[in-house]
Symmetry: C2
Subunit: 335 residues, 2 copies
């Protein structure tokens, strides 16, 4: 069997998996945004009856994992692997959800790129013949993330206008070696890029160069123009990062048609006062597995490039004065 | 192409990658232990000239990544993927090392199972045809881990006798689709198991049931007895966890020949006062990529089952009263 790698960084799947189902659980604020109708469940409050927000987040993720199998009418025990990642230290949301499910588990850390990373890895597991069903998933929770990364939300601190709002949400997709409908056709695994940003509130600026690097390599590797895709969607650069991304791409002579958008920009209304938009692993997870996947299933989108963007710092590295490394992982989905 | 999965959880590699090189960097205390002669570099002190221990750890990991390519005489830019994991929040040791290297990077979190997990995933990437060279690596540092998970080492707290000592070390191997010598022949991806342990000092007890589950499934899937292997080596249960593992296996009617050992038991002398032995991603990384791999290259070991064991809690989950979930990932290496 020859290599499936094309160019420097891109894999073309010979037997690209079908995305046979998606499931999303959103927080109350996300449920007031423009994509509300696309979410399967909207929590009434951020606790959902649990004694800690960490338990809530893990429960949301577990439910997303179970429901993708239910929806596809696939018994959970016939799923080969569970792939998941989240923002919490030691990815406890994923670990505890995986404990409840009991399937072979691969823990990933790609910060907000985790959903795209899990889909890239899950597609390789299926294309490589290592299994026939893989659940790919990710989650974040506004309160668990803010108190870990920045400040407890109870404190009511002011946030800068270029800051993003961590989404409360969990999303998953079920990849399968058989079925019909959209397939994951390529994956581009990103490199860690660091342009020297040090402001942990400005993650869009930290991530834009890494996302640009992945998009440029993806297009070069496949000798494609950006207009090959109906939609190139990043997750989650927010409004500041998305503008910077387009500038970096322009500087690198990438022809930019009017097909770029960002999950963080899409998930909230301007009136919701989230400043630069959404962020967190759950943002791109629920926008992709909800809104976008429904559009693909309905035939309204036929070719998507989905690029997860992750800011790879920690509160410790930031306090120690380190700059913010970032990464972008891309998967293309085609009907 | 049919599935390569055998039984419930095990993959048999049709084109299992060769382990063409290994490299290890150990801390000063590890350099005074019984395996000292097997390490490539032993640091004189735990800082190695850096202003933070976190920087030291990341530098060690970066060096291990570079040196596996150097040793194998493979240009770094012909390596397809960098796989790494560590114990620090948001796996910053791996992220910052990957930034310096600039290769496509897949971040993993499996706590102390990260070295085995990275080898399992790296083997799938090669066997699946997604690349020809993959670096698999992991690290830990006594001071960075202790202050994050337990207490700052400067405080000089007493540790219980069943506690393990986080290893300062970074190890890596280079997997290749061509070469000679030992190959990764199978991988068994573990499930998250939780027997209700709550004492974060007693990780051996938390991890033993998960490791037992993986070993039992591995042997059942392949219809093998434990004496198929010259060595079944866990990493890192320590002396308490290793005893518990053998008890759980006995209860499950696994015939136990005298071929079990644990990286955490092997790495220190009793006089070094580490109590139950070593732990941390770096422990199994340097024992495997150093001591064990050298024995395999020398022909003294022909069939190894290497099971990485990870305790998947966080300080937050422990403080919130949650029990400790754990996982074991196994790879077999055969000449």
């Amino acid at each position: 069997m020859g290599s499936k790698k094309v160019g420097n960084q891109t894999i073309v799947f010979e037997n690209g998996p079908y995305i046979i189902s998606g499931h999303t659980i959103a927080g109350p604020m996300e449920g007031q945004g423009p994509l509300a109708a696309s979410f399967d469940t909207i929590l009434k409050d951020t606790s959902d009856g649990e004694k800690s927000w960490e338990r809530t987040e893990s429960k949301m993720l577990e439910k997303a994992m179970r429901e993708v199998a239910n929806k596809a009418d696939i018994p959970l025990d016939s799923v080969d692997y569970l792939l998941a990642g989240d923002l919490l230290n030691q990815i406890i949301s994923s670990n505890f959800a995986a404990r409840q499910i009991g399937l072979p588990f691969i823990g990933l850390y790609g910060a907000c790129s985790s959903m795209a990373l899990s889909m890239a890895m899950g597609s390789m597991l299926i294309d490589g013949g290592f299994g026939s069903k893989v659940i790919c998933s990710a989650s974040s929770h506004h309160e668990t993330a803010e108190r870990q990364y920045r400040l407890p939300t109870e404190q009511g601190n002011q946030r800068p206008m270029y800051g993003q709002w961590t989404v409360t949400g969990a999303g998953g997709v079920l990849l399968s070696d058989s079925g019909t409908g959209p397939k994951v056709t390529t994956a581009t695994i990103g490199r860690v890029i660091d342009y020297g940003e040090t402001d942990v509130n400005n993650m869009g600026a930290a991530m834009a160069p890494a996302v640009a690097d992945t998009i440029i390599n993806h297009l070069n590797d496949l000798q494609r123009q950006a207009d090959y895709y109906d939609l190139i969607v990043t997750g989650d650069l927010g409004s500041v990062g998305l503008q910077l991304l387009l500038k970096v791409l322009e500087k690198n002579n990438v022809k930019i048609p009017n097909n770029f958008n960002d999950c963080g920009v899409m998930i909230y209304n301007t009136e919701q006062d989230t400043h630069a938009g959404g962020s967190g692993c759950g943002c791109s997870a629920i926008v992709f597995a909800g809104h976008l996947l429904k559009k693909v299933y309905a035939g309204n989108l036929k070719k998507i490039l989905f690029i997860g963007s992750g800011s790879l710092h920690s509160p410790t590295s930031a306090l120690q004065g380190e700059t913010i490394p970032a990464i972008g992982h891309a998967v293309s989905i085609e009907v």
